[in-house]
Each structure stands twice: as C-alpha cells, then as structure tokens.
C-alpha cells in the first residue's frame, strides 16, 4: 500500500482522530498493510510484542488458555478497534493469543519503530500514550463489567 494511502487510512481511523498531521506522517513511517485469513494466528501469549494493529475490516478474537479447559475468547475486536498495547509496556510480550475470526484487514504499526519516535519526540509520545491510556481505561471498564456477571437475575 502506498504511503499516502496508509496516511489516509490512519487519518480516518478513530484511534488517530484529530491527531496532528505531522505526527501522523511520522507514524506512517512505522506502518504497513496486513491481511489475516480466517483462523490465522496473529500472535501468541508470551511472544515478543513487536506490533500493534489498527483494524480496518474483519474480526479478531483475543483468547486466554486455561490449562486443560481449552481456550476462552475474552474479547473480540473489529472495525475501528485497536489490537494490542503490549508493544508499549515492558517487557513487550503479548498477554493473550489473537486470531482472525474472519478475513481481517489491518494496519500493522512497528512497536520498536514507534517507541523510538516517541522517545525522540516526547510530545508525540504523550499524544500516543493518552490515546492508549483511554483505550486501556475503556477495556478495563468493560472487563470489570464482564467480571460482574451483570446478567444474573433477582430471585423470585
């Protein structure tokens, strides 16, 4: 995919909404287009978190393994979502497995490349960090709601 096309895709993605154009152009330098077929493993728990993904189309499942009980899907992500923040948190290892549930198109962002750019330009780092923190807060809130098992009922 051409650089200008990548830039356009990123500019339209909710995660990068209203990000300064100059920063976006810096980020595009770390971006590449990726496609995952249905069932394809994107990453596995414990592997090096070299990338994160801006999902354009499709659906990705995040799984955790629970010994002999097999994998449990704990979340799915789709169009407009961001997959992964382990690239930002030492020791940069994935905490889940991820696989494509259906044909999925995404922009992969090189974590090492981005970390370097964030280190060189702290304003860019702050911008990205704020967006990631927002994402983490939303996921944490969703996880708490899932843990509450809210669909239980009053007793009659």
């Amino acid at each position: 995919m051409e650089i200008d096309t990548l830039d356009r895709v990123l500019s339209q993605h909710p995660f990068f909404q209203s990000l300064d154009e100059g920063y976006r152009k810096l980020i595009v330098g770390c971006a590449s287009n990726v496609v995952f077929q249905a069932g394809e493993i994107i990453f596995r728990e414990g592997e090096s978190a070299d990338h994160f993904y801006i999902i354009r189309h499709g659906r990705v499942a995040l799984e955790m393994h629970n010994g002999g009980k097999g994998p449990i899907i704990v979340e799915t992500l789709g169009e407009g979502d961001v997959l992964g923040w382990s690239w930002l948190v030492p020791p940069y290892h994935w905490r889940f497995d991820a696989h494509a549930v259906e044909l999925t198109r995404a922009i992969a962002l090189d974590g090492q490349c981005l970390r370097k750019k964030c280190y060189e330009d702290h304003s860019l780092g702050y911008e990205l960090l704020m967006r990631i923190v927002n994402l983490i807060a939303e996921r944490l809130h969703a996880t708490r709601m899932q843990l509450m098992d809210v669909y239980g009922n009053v007793k009659h």
Binding site: R59, I72, T76, G78, V101, M145, D149, Y151, N153, V154
Partner: protein
C-alpha cells in the same frame, strides 16, 4: 386487568412450555374458561403470575401484542416461585393478574430510527415491541438490536433473531461475555456495540432493558453518539407486589415502578437513576 378487583387473579392453564436455555423457560397460557377477547396488552407491560400455594411474581409479557389470543411469558428460574413455574406442565393451572404498567412508546417512535439495547433476559420484555414494529415495519427507519448475554448458551430466541434480520431488515449485533472458540460472533460488553452503529441521533429513539448497570453505561454511550435522554426509554425492575401502587414495595423516588413504570422516559428519572440511596 380485572376491572372490578385488580388484586383478584384469573385462572389460566398452561398451553405449552419450553426450555429456552439452561435456566430460562417460556410459558404459553390460555384462560381456563376460554375468553374470546384474548389477552390484550401493550409491549413492555407485565403480569403478576401466581403459583397457587407458593407465591406471586411480576413477569413481563414476551408475546406478540398483535396476536393477543396467546399470552406468553419468558422468565428465568432463579427463586422459589419461578422454579416452581418452570416445572408446570401443559394443563396445569395458575393465577394471572394484569396487564400492569407503562409500555414502550412504539407508536410514538414511528418515523424514527430505533436502537434497542438489551442484555440477558431483558430481550423478553422488548420482544413485544419488536413484534409491533414488524407489523408496521415501513413506518420505521433503521432498527438496531444490540443484545448481550453471559455466554452463547444464554442467548434467547436466537432462531427468531436470525429470522428478524432477514425478514424485517433488523441490524442485529449480538455479543457475549466469554465464549469457546466455536463462537464466531462478538465477545465483549453490549455497551461497546453502541458506538459502532450508524444512526441519525436527532431522529432516533432508544429502548433499553437489562441490568441497571448495563442500562447506566448504555446511556453513557448513547450520550456519546448524541441520543438525548428524552429520546431514551428504559424498563426498570423492582420488587413489585401489589402491582397497582398500593403497597409501596416498588417505590422508586417519587414513582411506583408498577404503575408509573416499568417503562420510563429516561429524562424523567435520570436524577435518581443509579443513585445508591434509592
């Protein structure tokens, strides 16, 4: 409702019973002594179901209001009364008082896009609203059904939901809290789906039914996409006993859920909604 004495149950017989999920079941009832007029009700209303010698519980009506000859209730077996209810067989008798309470503003919503957000057993009180909209589908814009449950095995009416998508052009988004790998749908909270729909918020009405915490955060998400409180309706649940506003068991601030609700326009209760003291 019995026009002479709303506290007096009428005897009904079980026509059919069906297990929907591990702990949810549906009863189809008919009057013991017949009754040509059927059982007219409005979507969102509830009945008090009386298991003789055991107790009485408020249960929403989940059938089709355009076909009132059949009275349908879907409920979860979680307590003494509902566990006994789920053991009743065709031909068994029980008492019914109702219908009680306010309803979903299905007719007032004509001309709008509709967003229905529901979780768990909350789809049951909304199903009559959907049926009524389907009967006049051309009078509504887009209809979104956002539905969450604990697991794929806890999803209600899934055969029907599949049919609704095609037959009535319903945009359906279903999600569960956790799933095995054979589940190909969404996993996550239902509130997360709100931000992913495409509606004109000024011409949208939202109907929400589910656990209060789910409804609270659904309102947060509706605010984000521009749907105002006066275009949002929620169904509240409290421990209703008399169902006619006498006993006070279901008092909710200045309201009685049984007669002022269960369906409220959100702006009329937003000052007390979610408050710990109430």
């Amino acid at each position: 409702m019995n026009p002479v004495n709303p506290m007096l149950p009428e005897v009904f017989k079980i026509r059919r019973s069906a297990q929907n999920t591990e702990d949810v079941f549906t009863l189809e009832l008919e009057r013991k002594n017949g009754g040509g007029a059927g059982f007219p009700f409005k979507p969102g209303q509830f009945n008090m179901l009386y298991v003789f010698g055991v107790g009485e519980v408020p249960i929403s009506i989940s059938g089709d209001p355009t076909r009132p000859h059949s009275l349908v209730h879907t409920t979860r077996a979680v307590g003494t009364v509902t566990r006994t209810l789920c053991q009743l067989k065709p031909g068994d008798e029980m008492g019914v008082r109702g219908p009680f309470g306010t309803s979903w503003p299905v007719e007032e919503a004509e001309g709008n896009d509709i967003v229905i957000v529901t979780g768990g057993i909350g789809l049951a009180p909304l199903r009559p609203a959907l049926y009524q909209m389907f009967a006049r589908r051309e009078r509504y814009g887009k209809i979104y059904l956002l539905y969450g449950a604990r697991s794929p095995g806890d999803l209600l009416y899934m055969d029907e939901v599949g049919l609704w998508q095609h037959q009535y052009r319903i945009e359906t988004r279903v999600t569960v809290d956790a799933a095995r790998r054979d589940w190909k749908g969404n996993v996550g909270v239902v509130t997360h789906l709100v931000g992913k729909i495409s509606i004109d918020p000024v011409h949208t009405m939202a109907f929400i039914c589910g656990p209060e915490i789910m409804m609270r955060f659904t309102r947060v998400e509706l605010t984000r996409i521009g749907v105002s409180p006066d275009r949002t309706f929620i169904s509240m649940e409290r421990n209703m006993k008399c169902a006619v506003g006498f006993c006070g068991h279901c008092q909710y601030g200045p309201h009685f859920i049984c007669k002022d609700g269960p369906v409220f326009r959100f702006d009329r209760i937003q000052n007390i909604f979610g408050r710990r003291e109430i």
